[in-house]
């Protein structure tokens, strides 16, 4: 593998981690809001219990992604930045409202409901907006070279692929978070809440699958260049479908608890499914970062910088992994935290 390919694989890995962690994070924020209104407070409490310690860590993954892109592909960072200034600024504003209002809600009980509603709904749209930038990177929606480069918003908004992508972003976020919260509730020995999230995951799973297919189908006319690449890695997509079926099926398997379903297995399989599909997608995207103007070779950083960045990520991760393990034990495993009265 050449250096740009190693670098883009690392970027893909970070993107993948953030896609999962971010979806779960924003989704949990939405569920926390949804169930306060429903007075199904246990479900809301569980979602908040997941969210409180984890959202800051999740946000760092977003920053990690941006910083890695700048370090490995400075050309791409500047190009994407220029082109996508509007959508990214919108995401930044939503992200800020979401984060700050969530903190405000923790601190002022009196207004906490209104504040939670604001942070829950703004958070809901962030993944959808981020996913909506994918079709733009694939082509056809930019005016390049006539002085100033810009996005053709009228064409974007009239293209069905935008809407299927937004739908895909929304459903993925809600599906992944419902699934994870189902698992988390079970870990917290709250079977009633488990059933609430399981029910959501059950209907969201097929919806997500449908949107994924629809997004791909509506994308193909815009991205003829990707089709052959996709066909050549058909087995990744096929395996991904298998993983989905196993994961979804796991929600109906017998367990040693009173209710059906093995949420841990389901979460793992769906994450694998997501990984396979997104790797297949990313692979088919190569060598372009932005079709047809920017390839990973064009945008690549200085080789000396690349090597030191690799060392940096290696050492940094090695030092932090123990911290992540402590974190996991304290907030995802420890019964005293999971089952605390509140």
């Amino acid at each position: 593998m050449t250096e740009p390919y190693i670098a883009i694989t690392i970027i893909w890995a970070f993107l993948f981690i953030y896609a999962i962690a971010g979806s779960i994070d924003f989704g949990a924020g939405f569920w926390a809001m949804y169930y306060t209104r429903k007075d199904n407070t246990e479900a809301s409490v569980i979602a908040n219990r997941y969210l409180s310690p984890s959202w800051e860590v999740t946000n760092v993954f977003l920053v990690l992604l941006v910083v890695a892109l700048v370090g490995f592909f400075p050309g791409a960072a500047s190009y994407l930045g220029t082109l996508m200034i509007m959508p990214f600024s919108l995401v930044l504003i939503l992200l800020t409202i979401r984060g700050t209002f969530m903190i405000y809600a923790y601190s002022s009980k009196k207004y906490s409901r209104m504040l939670t509603i604001i942070s829950g709904t703004t958070g809901l749209f962030i993944p959808a907006l981020l996913v909506a930038t994918l079709p733009i990177a694939i082509g056809g929606f930019m005016s390049i070279g006539e002085g100033r480069d810009y996005l053709l918003f009228d064409q974007i908004f009239s293209s069905p692929t935008l809407y299927t992508h937004v739908g895909f972003g929304l459903s993925t976020e809600l599906f992944l978070s419902a699934l994870l919260l189902a698992d988390y509730s079970r870990e917290a020995k709250s079977e009633a809440t488990y059933l609430v999230y399981r029910r959501n995951a059950l209907w969201l799973g097929p919806v997500t699958l449908l949107f994924a297919v629809a997004a791909t189908i509506t994308l193909l006319p815009e991205a003829g260049w990707m089709v052959d690449n996709m066909a050549s890695v058909w087995y990744l997509f096929a395996l991904s479908l298998v993983a989905f079926l196993i994961g979804y099926g796991a929600m109906f398997m017998k367990s040693n608890r009173e209710n059906l379903g093995r949420p841990r297995l389901a979460v793992i399989m769906i994450v694998i499914q997501f990984g396979l599909a997104s790797f297949g997608y990313g692979f088919s995207h190569m060598p372009y970062i932005l079709y047809p103007d920017l390839t990973i070779q064009d945008a690549f950083t200085d080789p000396a910088m690349f090597r030191w960045l690799l060392v940096g990520y290696g050492v940094g991760m090695a030092l932090l992994i123990p911290a992540f393990i402590v974190f996991w034990r304290l907030f995802m495993k420890d019964k005293r935290y999971l089952q605390a009265e509140k």
Partner: protein, 443 residues
Amino acid sequence: MDEVLLARMLFGSSMAFHIIFATLGVGITLMIFIAEIIRAIKKDDHYGVMAKRWTKGFAVLLGVAIPSGTIVGVMLSLLWPGYMEIVGRVIALPFQVEIFAFFLEAVFMSIYVYAADRLTNTMRIISVGLVALGATASAVLITDAHAWMNTPAGFDVVDGAITNVRPWDAVFNPSVGVTVLHVVSTAYMAGAFVIGSVAAFKLLKKNISSNEKAYHRKGLMIALIVGATMSLYTAVNGHDTAKMLYEYLPVKLAAAEGLFETQDNAPLAIFGIPDPERGEVVGGIEIPGMLSWLASGSTDGVVQGLNDFPEEYWPPLFVHTLFNVMVGIGFTLLGLSFAALFWRYVWPRKDFPKWILLLLVTGGPLAMIGIETGWIFSCTGRQPWTIYGVQLTADAATESGNLGFLFFLFVTLYATLLVLTALVLKFYFGRNPVSNDLQKADV
């Protein structure tokens, strides 16, 4: 309006907003760490309550620091694509390592806050120590990138292309040492004086119980000791920072001092307005020879003036005022904190009277003004360069339009968040007064 100017305004206001929360994040975590240590040594639960309440305030500030930091981090690529191309090739390392500092801070902050009851005392102190370490490391690393913009190193430019990149030379660029120390010591100052302001303000209240009084006095004394130490260090190190300018960025020093003619025995001008027509500072106080002495260690030292440089490379001359405000605040706070400590511990060893408390209340806001003016001085004083001598700001800026609209949107957001954050803090501490916490902790 000019798009480059709009980009500068948008980025500058975003940084000015982020820096409030970021600096306090660095300063207050140190204070919490110190309170936890004193509590372990003295076994005095007042300090436990203190650490808890400061942490609550800090958590709210961090909740704004993180998204606003994410904004500026992404905005660098949105507004300064030309700059980021070079950053990615030459000075990506501190940005990268900073991520690990963020992780450290975020992970242990959650542990310290949400797992406090499950930790042993030692573990709690270690966690909050790691939070403080993470915050300080973020400041150090981002300042490294900033110092590199002043004294770029670690690459060659051949025919406009960046070659021969030496990442470690960029990291250890000539000004990084003094600049990092200055930023960290001023952040600690700011944290201490802000905490001191709140404590002094509470002590001014009429009918508080003697228990509460003792509690606030303890907080105020930690703040004064940390504040005085850091102010003293800042003054010494600020002098080194000025010498760094003398050596590497003479035009910035000349603008800071409003010096037009290159000369030995150069005077130090305090306040006043530099007038390019007359070639001197109008209306200020001049101390003959002082600038030469400060910059080079002897009144014979020759200091370059603005006229040595083409006018298109001059920074805006108002940076003179920003610089004076920062330095003035530095000496004010130094005097204030030492005088207060002297009053309390040496002579007349009494409680603070009302007028001293009133002065101490101004310490926090002054320190924050020092931070803001210092940064704006440093970034604006580098103009018209983004990377000194390498890249002009106009060449770094984005070519996309619509910046006016975005500027309006973001500034509205910042103004709203400033008000809301203040209100949230006020409501929270209003509904949970110290007396409750002291009662709960049974002290």
